[in-house]
């Protein structure tokens, strides 16, 4: 067994056993950590593997969340079925954005701005749809918090904990398979040199579109989890620019294009935010904004001093071989 596999096994064991020792507060923090590791991994498919920068990724979270939640609230469709509609909606919208962008040669900064424009457009659109609650929000009826109902996704917080753990493990394994697949190598070729990839006979348009649609669909599943875990949705939160930024922070801080990056980034950033809150409260600061201010400063320090992300740096320290698709191979 490689040292990497052992490390991963230990991490998984720690998360699986955490509910034995952790209280409700710590568990809720760990759920957030895994949620950001999950959506970060999904975003990483598009940016880290295929090199297409999406700065409006919360669009897919919001679409997934609203689709599954609206189907549940209005028609009583269980989450286990609603998630297909949620993923389909996001894949369709991602396909439209990707097709528009790639067909018309919208590149780099311009493509990133296109993704922001669609997310912001959708945010304001959803504020004007009365059936979805508009700006006042859409609320899911809180059911029995004691049971376990995976079909309707109602039940105990521990059920949600293990669900998001399973999702995070699942997407990790999927991405591991992907980077070593034909499609994964196609993405890397496109990411590194689009013209050279085209010259090799790779259908660049299709490769990029596949990455966007896959990333969108997987992100939407994170949105379904979000909707049923928090039970409330507001357009100015679900589709906000801030959420998009939050999604991409973990993979970038952890290490873009690496498999461990999103997990490590989430493990650093979420507890960091919580620690800053606790520290400022303990020191008697109650002022609004102090937490975010410290957060911004920490973020600045990380991008300034570890621009490739924490994982490539840590990997060298631990003497581990680079994982496929990582900086080391490219």
């Amino acid at each position: 067994m490689s040292r990497q596999a052992i490390l991963l096994g230990l991490l998984l064991a720690a998360f699986a056993l955490a509910p034995l020792v952790a209280g409700p507060y710590l568990l809720s923090v760990l759920v957030v950590v895994m949620y950001f590791a999950y959506v970060g991994q999904a975003w990483n498919i598009m940016m880290g593997f295929a090199g297409q920068l999406s700065l409006g990724h919360t669009l897919y979270v919001g679409l997934g969340a609203y689709t599954a939640a609206a189907l549940f609230v209005h028609l009583g469709v269980p989450a286990a079925l609603g998630l297909f509609a949620a993923a389909a909606a996001a894949v369709a919208v991602g396909g439209v954005i990707g097709a528009l962008g790639f067909r018309f040669g919208v590149k780099g900064v311009y493509f990133a701005l296109l993704t922001i424009a669609f997310a912001e457009f959708t945010r304001i659109l959803f504020e004007h749809i009365p059936g979805l609650g508009g700006p006042a929000g859409l609320f899911l009826p809180v059911g029995d918090r004691g049971g376990i109902d995976l079909i309707h996704l109602r039940g105990h917080p521990l059920m949600f904990y293990y669900l998001i753990l399973a999702m995070t493990v699942g997407i990790f394994l999927l991405c591991r398979r992907l980077v070593r697949s034909r499609l994964g190598y196609t993405w890397l070729a496109v990411r590194e040199d689009q013209e050279a990839a085209a010259a090799l006979g790779i259908n660049v348009f299709r490769a990029k579109l596949t990455a966007v649609m896959l990333s969108a669909g997987l992100t939407a599943l994170g949105g379904v989890f979000f909707a049923f875990y928090y039970n409330n949705l507001f357009p100015n939160q679900a589709f906000s620019m801030n959420r998009s930024i939050e999604i991409i922070l973990a993979p970038i801080v952890g290490g873009l294009g690496t498999l461990f990056g999103p997990i490590l980034g989430a493990l650093i950033l979420t507890p960091l935010g919580e620690l800053i809150t606790m520290a400022t409260e303990a020191m008697g600061f109650k002022a609004a904004g102090i937490k975010q201010l410290c957060y911004g400063l920490s973020l600045l320090a990380i991008v300034k001093f570890l621009p490739d992300g924490v994982w490539p740096w840590l990997r060298t320290r631990l003497g581990l071989e680079p994982d496929a698709g990582g900086e080391g191979e490219s």
């Binding site: 701005l113 296109l114 912001e120 457009f121 102090i290 201010l293 911004g296 621009p307």
Partner: protein, 288 residues
Amino acid sequence: MTIDLANQIVTGLLTGLVYSLMALGLSVIFGVVRVVNFAHGEMTALAMYAAWMLFTWLELDPLVGLPLIALLLFALGYVMQRGLIDAFVAKPEHMQFILLVAVAIIMVNFSLLVFGPDAHGIQVPYGFDTYEVGPLLVDKVRLLAASAALAISGLLMLFFRRTMTGKAIRACADNLVGARVIGLNVKQLYAVTFGIGSACVGAAGALLSLLIDVMPSSGPELTMLAFIIVIVGGLGSMGGALLGGMLIGVSEVLAGYFLMPSMKGMFSFAILILILVLRPQGLMGARK
């Protein structure tokens, strides 16, 4: 009704010109340094707070305080480029994005910490004066602010065409290697450019403080607004920023007039999407 509509359009055009000046700063920075300033609106908000402080404490009219605020923002931009952004100029776009997002987060929360979450507005003595131009009613503040914005934009164009520094900056934008070969200090010129772009922001912030209230959340909104204007007009094109500003100013009032005021943003983003897809170089930008 037509008179009312015409008044609205004039209001949109004048407000748009002030937006233009802010967007011009973004355009200048991107055109030369090739870094997208995602903290642009946040810097504008800081300038608006500066104008508010000068007005509240020293009873200084924002139009009088404008040069001082522009100078302060020049210094801020210069230092930011020198100390922080310069190391990221050659880095990939997403790294620059995260860096400037971090700067933006710091600025928003600094304003929240210092000024609180409430909106701050400036009420000058001539705030309700209007001019009658034929059948139209034009606000005096709006006309003054728009004229000042237009004059400053003109001065900026003169600077880039007539002065040696301006020409050197344009040389960096046109041919970076060539600029290095003839011995231009690119690092220094980049910092000056970022400073000039920020000074535009300072001036625009001082003028905007006459027209709208400022609160911490104004920053991100103004950033988006600046982006839309610059993309619609053409990133890097100065004339495009002016045109884009007026276009967005008018589209905002029209969307508010015919639909709902809360839908005006949707209108602007729809224009942005159309321009990005159909004419990514913007209305006045040149095809690369």
